[in-house]
């Protein structure tokens, strides 16, 4: 089922956006309040709950020992899934993940994977036989727009908080998961030729196009994804990337704080 929005709200939003304004008085490229709480789930190896405005997500990390993929015998494995549970929105239904949940999981996964946040070679226990499996589960509790960023930030925070359960598997002492890079995504939505950051639900519903850019602490781009049926100009993608680096640095400062 699709979320619905009334025409009057839609028209009002269009008028605001044309003047560079937003429903809650933010600037177009201003983020909502962000709150990150780590270690929230005692049964998980690492976890984070992120409130981005009223959007509320939990990422939990579980680790297990298993076989590597045959083509990467010396690398650990990360498996990411997202569940848009019916708690989070009147339109979500229970059942296996649909395409939007799959895209969400894959885009968030791509940033972490391609950004080499974890050195997967360090997750190898015995080449070709035994590696660490890292299960990432993203649970959406309240959906008020921009799940990509909320989940991406929560996943990064959860990884920084993860303790490898070596003792449980008789592999020596527990140790923090080696995190090499800090990658965060920022997602831009385009509405009527205006580009805005961190949309609320109503803004997301009227958007024409979406662009997610994930950057690392060196300012490198590590993953991108364009979504929805609208289009971006080449120049627009450049300015999104510039902006993503700036916002990414702010987010990394916040993430560093919770680390220490």
């Amino acid at each position: 089922m699709k979320e619905l929005i009334s025409k009057i709200t839609k028209d009002y939003l269009f008028r605001l956006i044309k003047d560079g304004k937003r429903l809650d008085g933010r600037d177009l490229l201003e983020q909502r309040d962000l709150d990150i709480e780590t270690g929230w789930i005692g049964t998980a190896e690492g976890s984070a709950r992120v409130h981005l405005g009223d959007t509320d997500v939990i990422v939990g990390i579980k680790m297990d020992v298993g076989e590597p993929f045959p083509d990467t015998p010396e690398k650990g494995v990360m498996i990411t899934s997202a569940e848009l549970i019916p708690m989070a929105s009147p339109k979500y239904e229970s059942g296996p993940p649909r395409e939007d949940a799959t895209e969400l999981a894959r885009v968030v996964d791509r940033g972490i994977r391609e950004g080499e946040v974890m050195d997967v070679k360090k997750l190898c226990i015995k080449k070709g036989e035994k590696v660490w499996l890292v299960f990432v589960d993203m649970h959406i509790l309240d959906f008020d727009g921009n799940l990509f960023d909320a989940c991406g930030i929560a996943l990064m925070a959860a990884l920084m908080n993860t303790i490898v359960p070596a003792e449980r598997h008789e592999l020596g002492e527990d140790y923090p998961l080696p995190v090499e890079h800090v990658v965060v995504p920022t997602t831009f939505y385009k509405v009527k030729d205006q580009i805005m950051l961190d949309v609320r639900l109503e803004e997301e519903m009227i958007a024409d196009a979406r662009l997610t850019v994930a950057t690392n602490e060196n300012g490198d781009i590590v993953a991108m994804q364009k979504g929805l049926s609208g289009v971006f100009e080449y120049e627009e993608t450049i300015s999104c990337i510039e902006e993503s680096k700036k916002i990414g640095d702010e987010l990394r400062k916040q993430l560093d704080k919770i680390k220490s």
């Binding site: 509320d56 939990g60 579980k62 708690m87 929105s89 229970s94």
Partner: protein
């Protein structure tokens, strides 16, 4: 198994987590924590973390399942993959299907379903962290979320378990007690009327022990009921006292 070495309860009747035989784990409830849901409640019960959300009354889907005389109550109990020590595969299993059914039936008893023909009232409970007694936690949280959603209902259900460990009947089994104990009786009731809306039992109990267990659990439900009511009072008194609270916070 290792019951003797584990020593779930000592000679003085103190359990391995320091509780007395008739002591509940600490319970905290907060009502109205989610924006999208019509009603919600977050409950922490010992190490358990449970979120409940209510949507409805709304149009029942699929249509053929509508009841022209009353609303259909659909509860969904779901465990997060990371809620247990060994990752649980997402999605419903036989256990959660059974708990969902029992919860739906228990809650149907207190909701005025005849007020909403053809509608559904949906209750979603997510177990985010599990440590024994999640079905009781779920039912307790669901009741608060229903009240928060303003669903017309006769009362709330409070739920709690009692059981037997080391030959003694005790209240509210913890994780180890649940795994290595001898019996578990999760029950739910409407504390003001004494009506029992949920009752399960597994293990081994004599008649006398069953009576002791139920008495412990019924007393505890009254205590839990108070926590449920307090959560709702806090939620709906804030709008009046916001001004004072803000002032207090500034002074601090």
């Amino acid at each position: 198994m290792a019951e003797e070495e584990l020593k779930l309860i000592d000679e003085k009747g103190i359990r391995n987590d320091g509780r007395k035989f008739d002591e509940l784990r600490p319970i905290k409830i907060e009502a109205g924590v989610l924006k999208r849901a019509d009603g919600s409640a977050f409950l922490e019960w010992g190490e358990n973390k449970v979120m409940a959300a209510v949507y409805g009354p709304r149009e029942m889907h699929p249509r053929h399942a509508q009841d022209p005389s009353r609303a259909v109550v659909q509860a969904r109990y779901n465990m997060a993959a990371f809620s247990v020590p060994d990752r649980k595969r997402p999605g419903p299993d036989r256990r959660s299907v059974e708990i969902s059914k029992l919860m739906s039936e228990a809650l149907e008893e207190i909701i005025f379903v005849e007020h909403f023909p053809r509608a559904s009232i949906d209750i979603f409970v997510e177990v985010l962290e599990a440590s024994a007694g999640t079905r009781c936690a779920a039912l307790t949280a669901a009741s608060v979320a229903l009240a928060d959603a303003g669903i017309p209902m006769s009362d709330m259900i409070a739920s709690c378990a009692a059981g037997k460990i080391g030959g003694k009947v005790v209240l509210d089994l913890g994780k180890k007690e649940d795994n290595f104990g001898q019996a578990d009786v999760p029950m739910g009731m409407v504390p003001t009327t004494g009506k029992i809306t949920l009752l399960q039992m597994d293990g081994n109990l004599t008649m006398e022990e069953y009576k002791q267990a139920m008495e412990l659990a019924m007393d505890a439900c009254k205590e839990i009921y108070k926590i449920q009511r307090d959560a709702l009072k806090r939620r709906y008194s804030t709008s009046i006292s916001t001004f004072e609270e803000t002032n207090d916070m500034e002074e601090e």
